[in-house]
Symmetry: C3
Subunit: 300 residues, 3 copies
């Protein structure tokens, strides 16, 4: 395993290893570690990000490593440098690259060019595999398992990249999925077909968003304006759902990749249903596990 | 002591402890230290700053810790995330937060939300307590004491947040204060009343800025355009004073929170009167002392 | 040797020492080092840069040090602070300064103000000495020597600061130089005169760029739009050369300070002729050697 580009490239065994290692990383966060001392992470963020970039940096520091940031200095790209030349140079300055780029497939291209491991931190509406890994970790930590859980993905299932990878990974681990969305934002057919075929998944679909959400987990997503090709479509569907305490089952846990706008009522925040802040915090140990695995497997 | 939000929350004893610890931090700066190894400082600067941000970062590095910077990535706030959600996430990624935000009271709000210590690095025209602490340290280092010193605060005493907290703290330590400003920029009545009542301070006021400044310390401030609600008021008072060697007493020391524009003539720079560059450099040991105190008291 | 401002200030002996130390730094890059533990590098980039800034930061991390970045926070300069005040403050917050500023002579001015070592990372069209040092190192590593090599500098020799310093340094080490450029972009007379006089250099000049480039090394430069005082002159000469495999000698190595646009055909990239990516990667060990030398000579 040199790179993390898509959850589809990652075997079930590799995912399980990352989830187990994340557990030990939670302990290392407290004691501190020198596992990646002298190693350098380069972040290349061509789209802004708060939690992803910061949590990668925090993860690297917790392992004793350091970070350089290419993001803000697009100067050489402005001067007309090719993406390929940029990656080659940054590759020679660091030990692992984390890249976010709105162009689909750019992370995979970077991985082909670079000798060092490349981690995809989101390529447009396509893939964001470390988000999926931390989502899996969050579910497993909270419910003790993934298999046979009733999990609903709710909201924008069409443009939200998070839910495509997550649906794939959850099916791989045997969860029972329900897709809940307005008709305009349904899970793309190709995603549903793929997981039915590969994992024999049974999938429910619903278009009523605000009633009877008695699932083990509800995974809510934000409607992201920037992903809509048609602004009118965005205007039509925004604000069509808002999860509050009335609609949740007794033991339902609510997840969200954050940032949230209005999809989850603030009354949920301080209840046992709110898993989304804990979920965000798991970004650190999971990304520590990923960095450690990739950097050390290249070094050996 | 979990947070540093306002000098008013900090007891005389706590301030004295910080001043004593700053002294030992000056030694640690040379030898290096691992006191905060594995710890992470998050900087959230919603207003620009040179020396405050850099000196916090330097202080953290001198203690063996690391820094992540939220400031440039306002992305999630742009996406509509609430201030409260942002603080909760950053809180889970770091061990201590330093926040500068033009909105008064925002640092206190952050401290209520965050489990980790929050340091106010300036909330608008309100408070900037670490500046006050380094000012106190500078005076004590240079004059050996604070009590009974004749100290003049000079310039914009109305909008300059620095002087409000400083006047409070100096009175607490028994200095004799003179407020010198144009009539339009007088120290607000509420500040004067409070320190008279609390500390029985005797205060002189003057509106003649450029004569007979025979004090132990003159603390000069810049007229900050961005603090004036009325641009015409700014035009009227800017450039009304410029301290030069002629007006200083034989042993008068000149301080300034910097950046300066024209308030102090450059002829003062290389004389024994100039304390302002030394003052800026004390930002490092004082902020080391503050970081060490807060992070270690939370960890224990 | 307190600062590195111009290659002209640096003696042959000092350059040789840096080249030798760079060799050992390549080993340290792998093993990791604490040589500059607790030390802080301040980067002040008033012009954007990818590889220079990142490679200085990487170099500092490989030596166990840390970095603070002034570049993005021009706030105090915006507030009207003088360059001199800014340098004084940053000087008191760090152990070594790296500065890039479009104004010629600004790095030398900074060095006069600062007590800590100052490294010039480019002052406009003037000097960029660490680029020259890594170019020398690249040549010596690849060819085993510099003396008596046939080296052609090709492209914009008028505005490209890189080639002025490089011509000087290569002559100092006894290389045989050929200057190849369009007539409009010839090496300035003052540069040629100086190296002829000082080093007795024999220099060839040519204005045919795309034929018979049978040299040991061809050093190709980009035509930099931002350096041309007259945009029409730029339009006239851009795109007048593109090095491809046909014109190279059997053992010719091609160098380029990067970023490149179209000056070197991509067909050269994966051949033994391409030295430019390796050249960029040597930025790390050479800058490690420079940082180590300067910081430790000040500390002692």
């Amino acid at each position: 395993m040199k790179d993390i580009i898509s959850i589809r490239d990652t075997s079930k065994k590799e995912i399980e290893k990352i989830l187990i290692n994340s557990e030990s990383m939670e302990r290392l966060m407290k004691s501190g570690s020198d596992k990646l001392k002298g190693k350098i992470l380069a972040t290349l963020f061509f789209e802004p990000s708060t939690r992803t970039k910061l949590s990668f940096e925090s993860a690297m520091f917790h392992l004793g490593g350091n970070c350089v940031d290419f993001s803000k200095e697009k100067s050489s790209l402005i001067k007309g440098e090719s993406f390929s030349d940029t990656i080659k140079i940054v590759d020679s300055y660091c030990d692992v690259l984390v890249i976010r780029n709105p162009v689909e497939g750019s992370a995979r291209l970077a991985a082909e060019i670079a000798k060092k491991p490349v981690i995809n931190a989101g390529d447009g509406a396509n893939q964001h595999p470390t988000q999926t890994l931390l989502d899996l970790y969050t579910i497993k930590k909270s419910k003790g398992k993934i298999r046979d859980l009733n999990i609903a993905l709710l909201g924008d299932l069409k443009y939200g990249r998070t839910t495509h990878s997550l649906a794939y990974a959850l099916s791989m681990f045997g969860a029972k999925l329900t897709f809940i969305s307005p008709d305009e934002l349904k899970m793309p057919r190709r995603v549903t077909d793929e997981i039915k075929e590969k994992f024999n998944a049974e999938i429910q679909t619903k278009n009523e968003l605000n009633k009877n959400l008695n699932y083990d987990i509800i995974y809510v997503t934000r409607i992201q304006k920037e992903r809509f090709p048609d602004p009118q479509e965005y205007e039509r569907v925004k604000g069509t759902y808002k999860i509050n305490l009335d609609v949740l089952g007794k033991d339902t846990l609510v997840m969200h990749p954050l940032p949230r706008v209005d999809e989850i009522s603030r009354e949920v925040d301080n209840t046992k249903h709110a898993l989304y802040f804990k979920q965000a915090s798991y970004g650190i140990p999971v990304r520590m596990a990923i960095l450690d695995l990739l950097v050390n497997s290249v070094t050996k």
